[in-house]
Amino acid sequence: MGDAEIIPIGTRGRPGRGSGTRRPSSAARDLAPHAARRRAQDPDTGTGTDTGPDTGTDTGPDTATTVTGPRADERTTPAEQDVVARLEVPAPTSAGPSGVEVTDRAGAPGIPAADWAHALVAGAREVLGDDWENRLAHGLAGLRRRLTGEYAVDEYGFDAELTRRLLFAVLRPLAEKWFRIEVRGLENIPATGGALVVSNHSGTIPVDGLMTMFSVTEHTGRFLRPLGADLVFRTPVVAGLARKMGATLACTEDAERMLSGGELVGVWPEGFKGIGKPYSERYKLQRFGRGGFVSAAMRTGVPVIPVSVVGAEEIYPLVGNVPALARLLGLPYVPITPLFPLLGPLGLVPLPSKWLIEFGEPVRTDAYGEGAADDPMLVLNVTDQVRETIQQTLYSLLMERPSVFG
């Protein structure tokens, strides 16, 4: 078969009749009457084709359809050019500076400017409504404020604007669509003045804290200021965000300062013992710290509001722990859940459990006497009372919930 003649099919993209030869037929050459003329006039583009590898004659095949553009329109406005370009659609035009380029997509000089602008305006109207210009200006003004630092943070570093606009915007769909949070007992949150919100803690990473914060702000308009462990303020990125979200260190000074400043302060006294407990121990409250939160509330005379969160235990069921790695990394635990690290980053998607958050009846501390905060027995009793309330509420909420994902 070595001597079989191979006849190519088609013209390999060149104009012609598909005869397989390298040169187009005379009929094809006739289709491009301007080419020869143009070469004679334009030496600049002519040199490029003269030395071209596949041009044996004056009328190279590649320049067969090359025509000059509408020179007269060079200085017209874009809109007029647009009209010209549209009129020219059937006629082949060239764009290559060397003059050897073939443009079969004749008359495609890009999307006209008017179309761009129209699309942008229509898009803006679609996204922002009819009042889009004002809204965009507002948005830009907000952006400018962010970019030039002209916003205020309080002495703890809390950035209310950022929290409301960014953090809560991210949490809202998660809270409403994914966890379908049901909040009860909102009337127990005072409208003004300091109060200490005490909650159970679970879920391997503190999503429950974020959700409680979001729910409080969403329903009452007040910000819940969380107290965090020092690990939070030691960890890069987390540290930078925590203070912006309103957190501060869980220490006596800060707790009392915030409470006497009339803030709504949130504590999770179980700490890492609660959040990192195995799934088998779900909804069993751990030790409630050393009762420091109660003495802070007593010293400032604010009520303690027990909060029970059901649903956070199931988002990342903690089935294992790697203590050696945790020690190495300086973390309290390294979690293993059914999906993490098995599925990698996908394992970080929380399971869509059904959440119930109940704010219990406030425990008043202002009735106790002057030195109550320094009476350890009294402090521990109140701590136990709060813990017991939360535990009982957890049990009743669990009975109420039809199923984990119900």
């Binding site: 600049d44 000059t68 500076p97 000089p109 761009w116 400018r144 570093g157 987390v238």
Partner: protein
Amino acid sequence: MGRVVLVTGVSRDLGRRSAAALAAAPGVDRVVGVDVSPPRGDMGGVAFVRADIRNPVIAKVIAKEDVDTVVHMSVIATPGTSGGRTTMKELNVIGTMQLLAACQRAPRLETLVVKSTTTVYGASSRDPAMFAEETEPRRLPRSGYAKDASEVEAYVRGFARRRPDVRVTMLRCANVVGPHVVSPMTSYFRLPVVPTVLGFDPRLQFLHEHDLMAVLEHSVTDGAHGTFNVAGEGVLSLSQALRRLGRPSIPLPASAVGGVGSVLRSARLTEFSPEQVSLLTFGRGVDTTRMREVLGFRPRYTTASAFADFAAHIAPGPGPGERVVAGVGRVLGIDGVDDTDATPGPGRRGVASLAGTPALGGGAGQGGDARG
């Protein structure tokens, strides 16, 4: 009869100007400035005595000039300007010891004002949000300026115990900023690209240089006994400060910041001490309730306005953030981006500004021929 004030550390700019301000203050008769090297600028009505506070000569100056008030501000922060860490420590600690020893022997002494620093609180992840005067630092400073300052404070407390008749005012001042201040903090903000610690956004407090002079004068004339935090109202986060300054920043991992610091030190741009790195990581806030209520001093500048005054002197014009927004606004044909009640023109203006850019649409098709 007015007071006779002795001011140490007048060779440096802040000391010199504070001394000059004191000399002009009502109720002050005479101000004697002391330092090892002569001041480089105008001293106003201050008499300069060249003396080293590290040797007992200072006692003679106090006795001879009949000094009744001593303002000690020669605790220096940077080893670079004074010839190494050893000299710095000697100046700070031994100098203070000698000065206090001389003060103890001066029967006419009534008032001692010491300028200390909030650096004595350190900066760590276990810090409370706001340090009160009685709060112990969570991590004791182990080196450098912070250690010197806390040792100086210990000696001053010892002196206050031994001379209960002397009113001792210790001022823990936040980072002083101002158009003329040269300090590790101000040279940090003067860097063309400011390195920050990745993933941290510390809270900072500033004190304006005018307020520093004002608080010194206030402490000399009608101060109160005790230790006081002195800082402008409010806090700024570092990211916010850099945005207001309009300087680009480059976040670096915490471990790399120290290395960058030593490069900058060798380039003589700024000094990055370990205390400063920890301040730039964890930040610090001090409570100034006692300053306002007991000392009775109110700074004229807040932290934000003190920084704004400093920023206006080192970075004129809009920052990159502002330029970006202005550019976006211009492209979309929207004016008054900075007004919340912006009233832009009709919708066609956006179209017009887009159609005016020749790079878009029909212009591209004719590009080749325009050159031909």
